[in-house]
Amino acid sequence: MYRARLFAVRHAGVFERLYQSVERVMVALDPLFERIGYGRVERPVAIVEKVVKDLLFDCKMCGQCVLSSTGMSCPMNCPKELRNGPCGGVRPGGFCEVKPDMLCVWCEAWDGATRMQNGSQINEVLPPVDRSLAGSSSWLRASREKATAKRDADAARQALASAFPEARANEPVAAPLADEPDRRQPFK
């Protein structure tokens, strides 16, 4: 919902803290998820995540949520799906080039970032979206990434993660290293 999305940006600081708490809970639950199997909890968690984030952020379920680095304004709502800031076509008044009735997602994002404790994360370069993760739960991925940082990482993904070190540090889901539960064979 467009209005809820704008509301989230106006209160980006509150949502940032809320998000941090959700993440802490998810990371704490990692051993449990590990025991049940991430593959098994994936669907129910993804359904809840979709409902909540669709309502609040117009979530597109890219599976690589980076809201904490984008002022709580979802970059997948940008018609060009830009992940690193506005394009050069923003209209006077801060409206979108492609959808003239919508405020530029990235003008909103910079605005939201000023209200956030870690708002400066918006300055860090994010990698392109891994399209094969669309529809999956970003929350589960986030907890898995935090846990995996200490375990063995998927070697095949190292190049992207090291090309975007800032993203790996702040938004591990954007430059993931953990094995995907439903992807038994690591990609080459």
């Binding site: 018609p79 060009k80 799906e81 830009l82 992940r83 690193n84 800031g85 506005p86 394009c87 050069g88 076509g89 923003v90 209209r91 006077p92 008044g93 801060g94 080039e97 492609v98 530029c104 990235w106 003008c107 910079w110 605005d111 300055n123 860090e124 370069v125 994010l126 990698p127 392109p128 399209r131 070697a155 095949a156 993904r157 190292q158 190049a159 992207l160 090291s162 090309a163 975007f164 800032e166 080459k188």
Partner: protein, 335 residues
């Protein structure tokens, strides 16, 4: 049959001079502290190489590098890589523009290697205009990369010698990396920060969109200097001659990202010979941006007025008597 090992076909990939990232002549001009001039080529709707060379000739007289646009405004023309291939073969130093609109990461990384192999030494990484403004609005917009992830990817290919997948590249593409910036549109306060982010991503030179609002650009540059960005990147200010007040109005409302202040349009309206006035205005703009601290050059975009570029640059006096390096001199060919 041509011998495939003959020196005509196999151009050696020369080692860049110390402190340089590429063998680009544009990089050499900028690093030596000279005021650089680049110009945009109007891509032909034709499969005839002669049309490319005809368009390049007037630009080569004054430019240190010629930009080959990648379907700008989402309009279909000869491809940027095709133009670059022809231009580099003829001794020009092209800037290969890559837009993220039409190709995905597999295509773009491959094209970067192809372009480098054909002698391209400069790239300009762009997001690209939406497909809706072009001649084929029903096309599928790709936007797999954005301009920053594209910059970082090419930088990784060049410096680490790997694709994003981690696969090794035998001979990395030694390219001088460029990006665009548009200082005259919202969010004004964040544009300099975005420039900083582009530098973080890998940008070594910047070509801006059209600047018609000097006070606004000065404000932008002031912040750029405060952040120390002018020391980390070469900024080339975008300029171009307007044809008439009507054309200016049309551009302002139909081409994404173009800001032309009302007093500029009024000046064009009041002129007896609008074409002459547009040219004079462009010369003045070049001289004005030249005077701003931190501006390393100009990028002339004279859409359908390419014949004026040489005169405009000469009149502005920014070349200060030096010969541009856009076209390799005959006696140095093969050197």
């Amino acid at each position: 049959m041509a011998d495939l090992d003959s020196s005509d076909l196999m151009q050696p990939y020369e080692t860049p001079p110390a402190g340089h990232v590429s063998g680009s002549r544009l990089e050499r001009v900028l690093r030596s502290g000279k005021f650089a001039v680049t110009a945009e080529l109007n891509p032909p709707d034709s499969a005839d190489p002669a049309d490319v060379f005809d368009a390049a000739r007037p630009l080569g007289e004054v430019a240190d590098a010629i930009n080959a646009t990648d379907a700008s405004g989402a309009n279909c023309h000869m491809s940027s890589i095709g133009i670059c291939s022809l231009l580099s073969r003829a001794g020009y130093g092209p800037v290969y523009q890559i837009s993220c609109r039409d190709r995905n990461r597999i295509a773009i990384q491959g094209d970067v290697l192809g372009a480098a192999a054909m002698g391209v030494r400069n790239v300009l990484c762009l997001t690209g205009d939406g497909v809706g403004v072009g001649d084929q609005p029903g096309a599928k917009p790709v936007f797999d990369f954005d301009s920053l992830s594209l910059l970082r990817t090419i930088k990784t290919m060049r410096d680490d010698g790997v694709f994003l997948s981690g696969r090794k590249i035998k001979r990395p593409p030694l390219l001088f990396l460029g990006a665009a910036e548009n200082p005259c549109i919202p969010p004004y306060d964040w544009r300099p920060e975005r420039l900083a982010k582009k530098i973080e991503a890998g940008a070594e030179f910047i070509q801006t969109n059209y600047i018609y609002d000097i006070p606004l650009f000065e404000k932008f540059m002031m912040r750029v200097r405060d952040l120390g960005l002018d020391k980390r990147v070469f900024i080339l200010a975008g300029v171009g001659p307007l044809a008439s007040a009507k054309a200016a109005r049309w551009m302002r409302s139909n081409v994404p990202g173009i800001h032309i202040p009302d007093d500029v349009i009024k000046r064009m309206e009041g002129a007896e010979k609008p074409g002459e006035e547009g040219k004079r205005l462009c010369v003045e703009l070049i001289q004005q941006v030249r005077a701003i601290q931190g501006v390393a050059g100009v990028h002339v975009m004279a859409y359908r007025r390419e014949h004026l570029v040489s005169e405009i640059v000469q009149e502005s006096g920014v070349l200060a008597g030096r010969r541009p390096v856009g076209l390799r001199r005959r006696q140095r060919a093969g050197a």
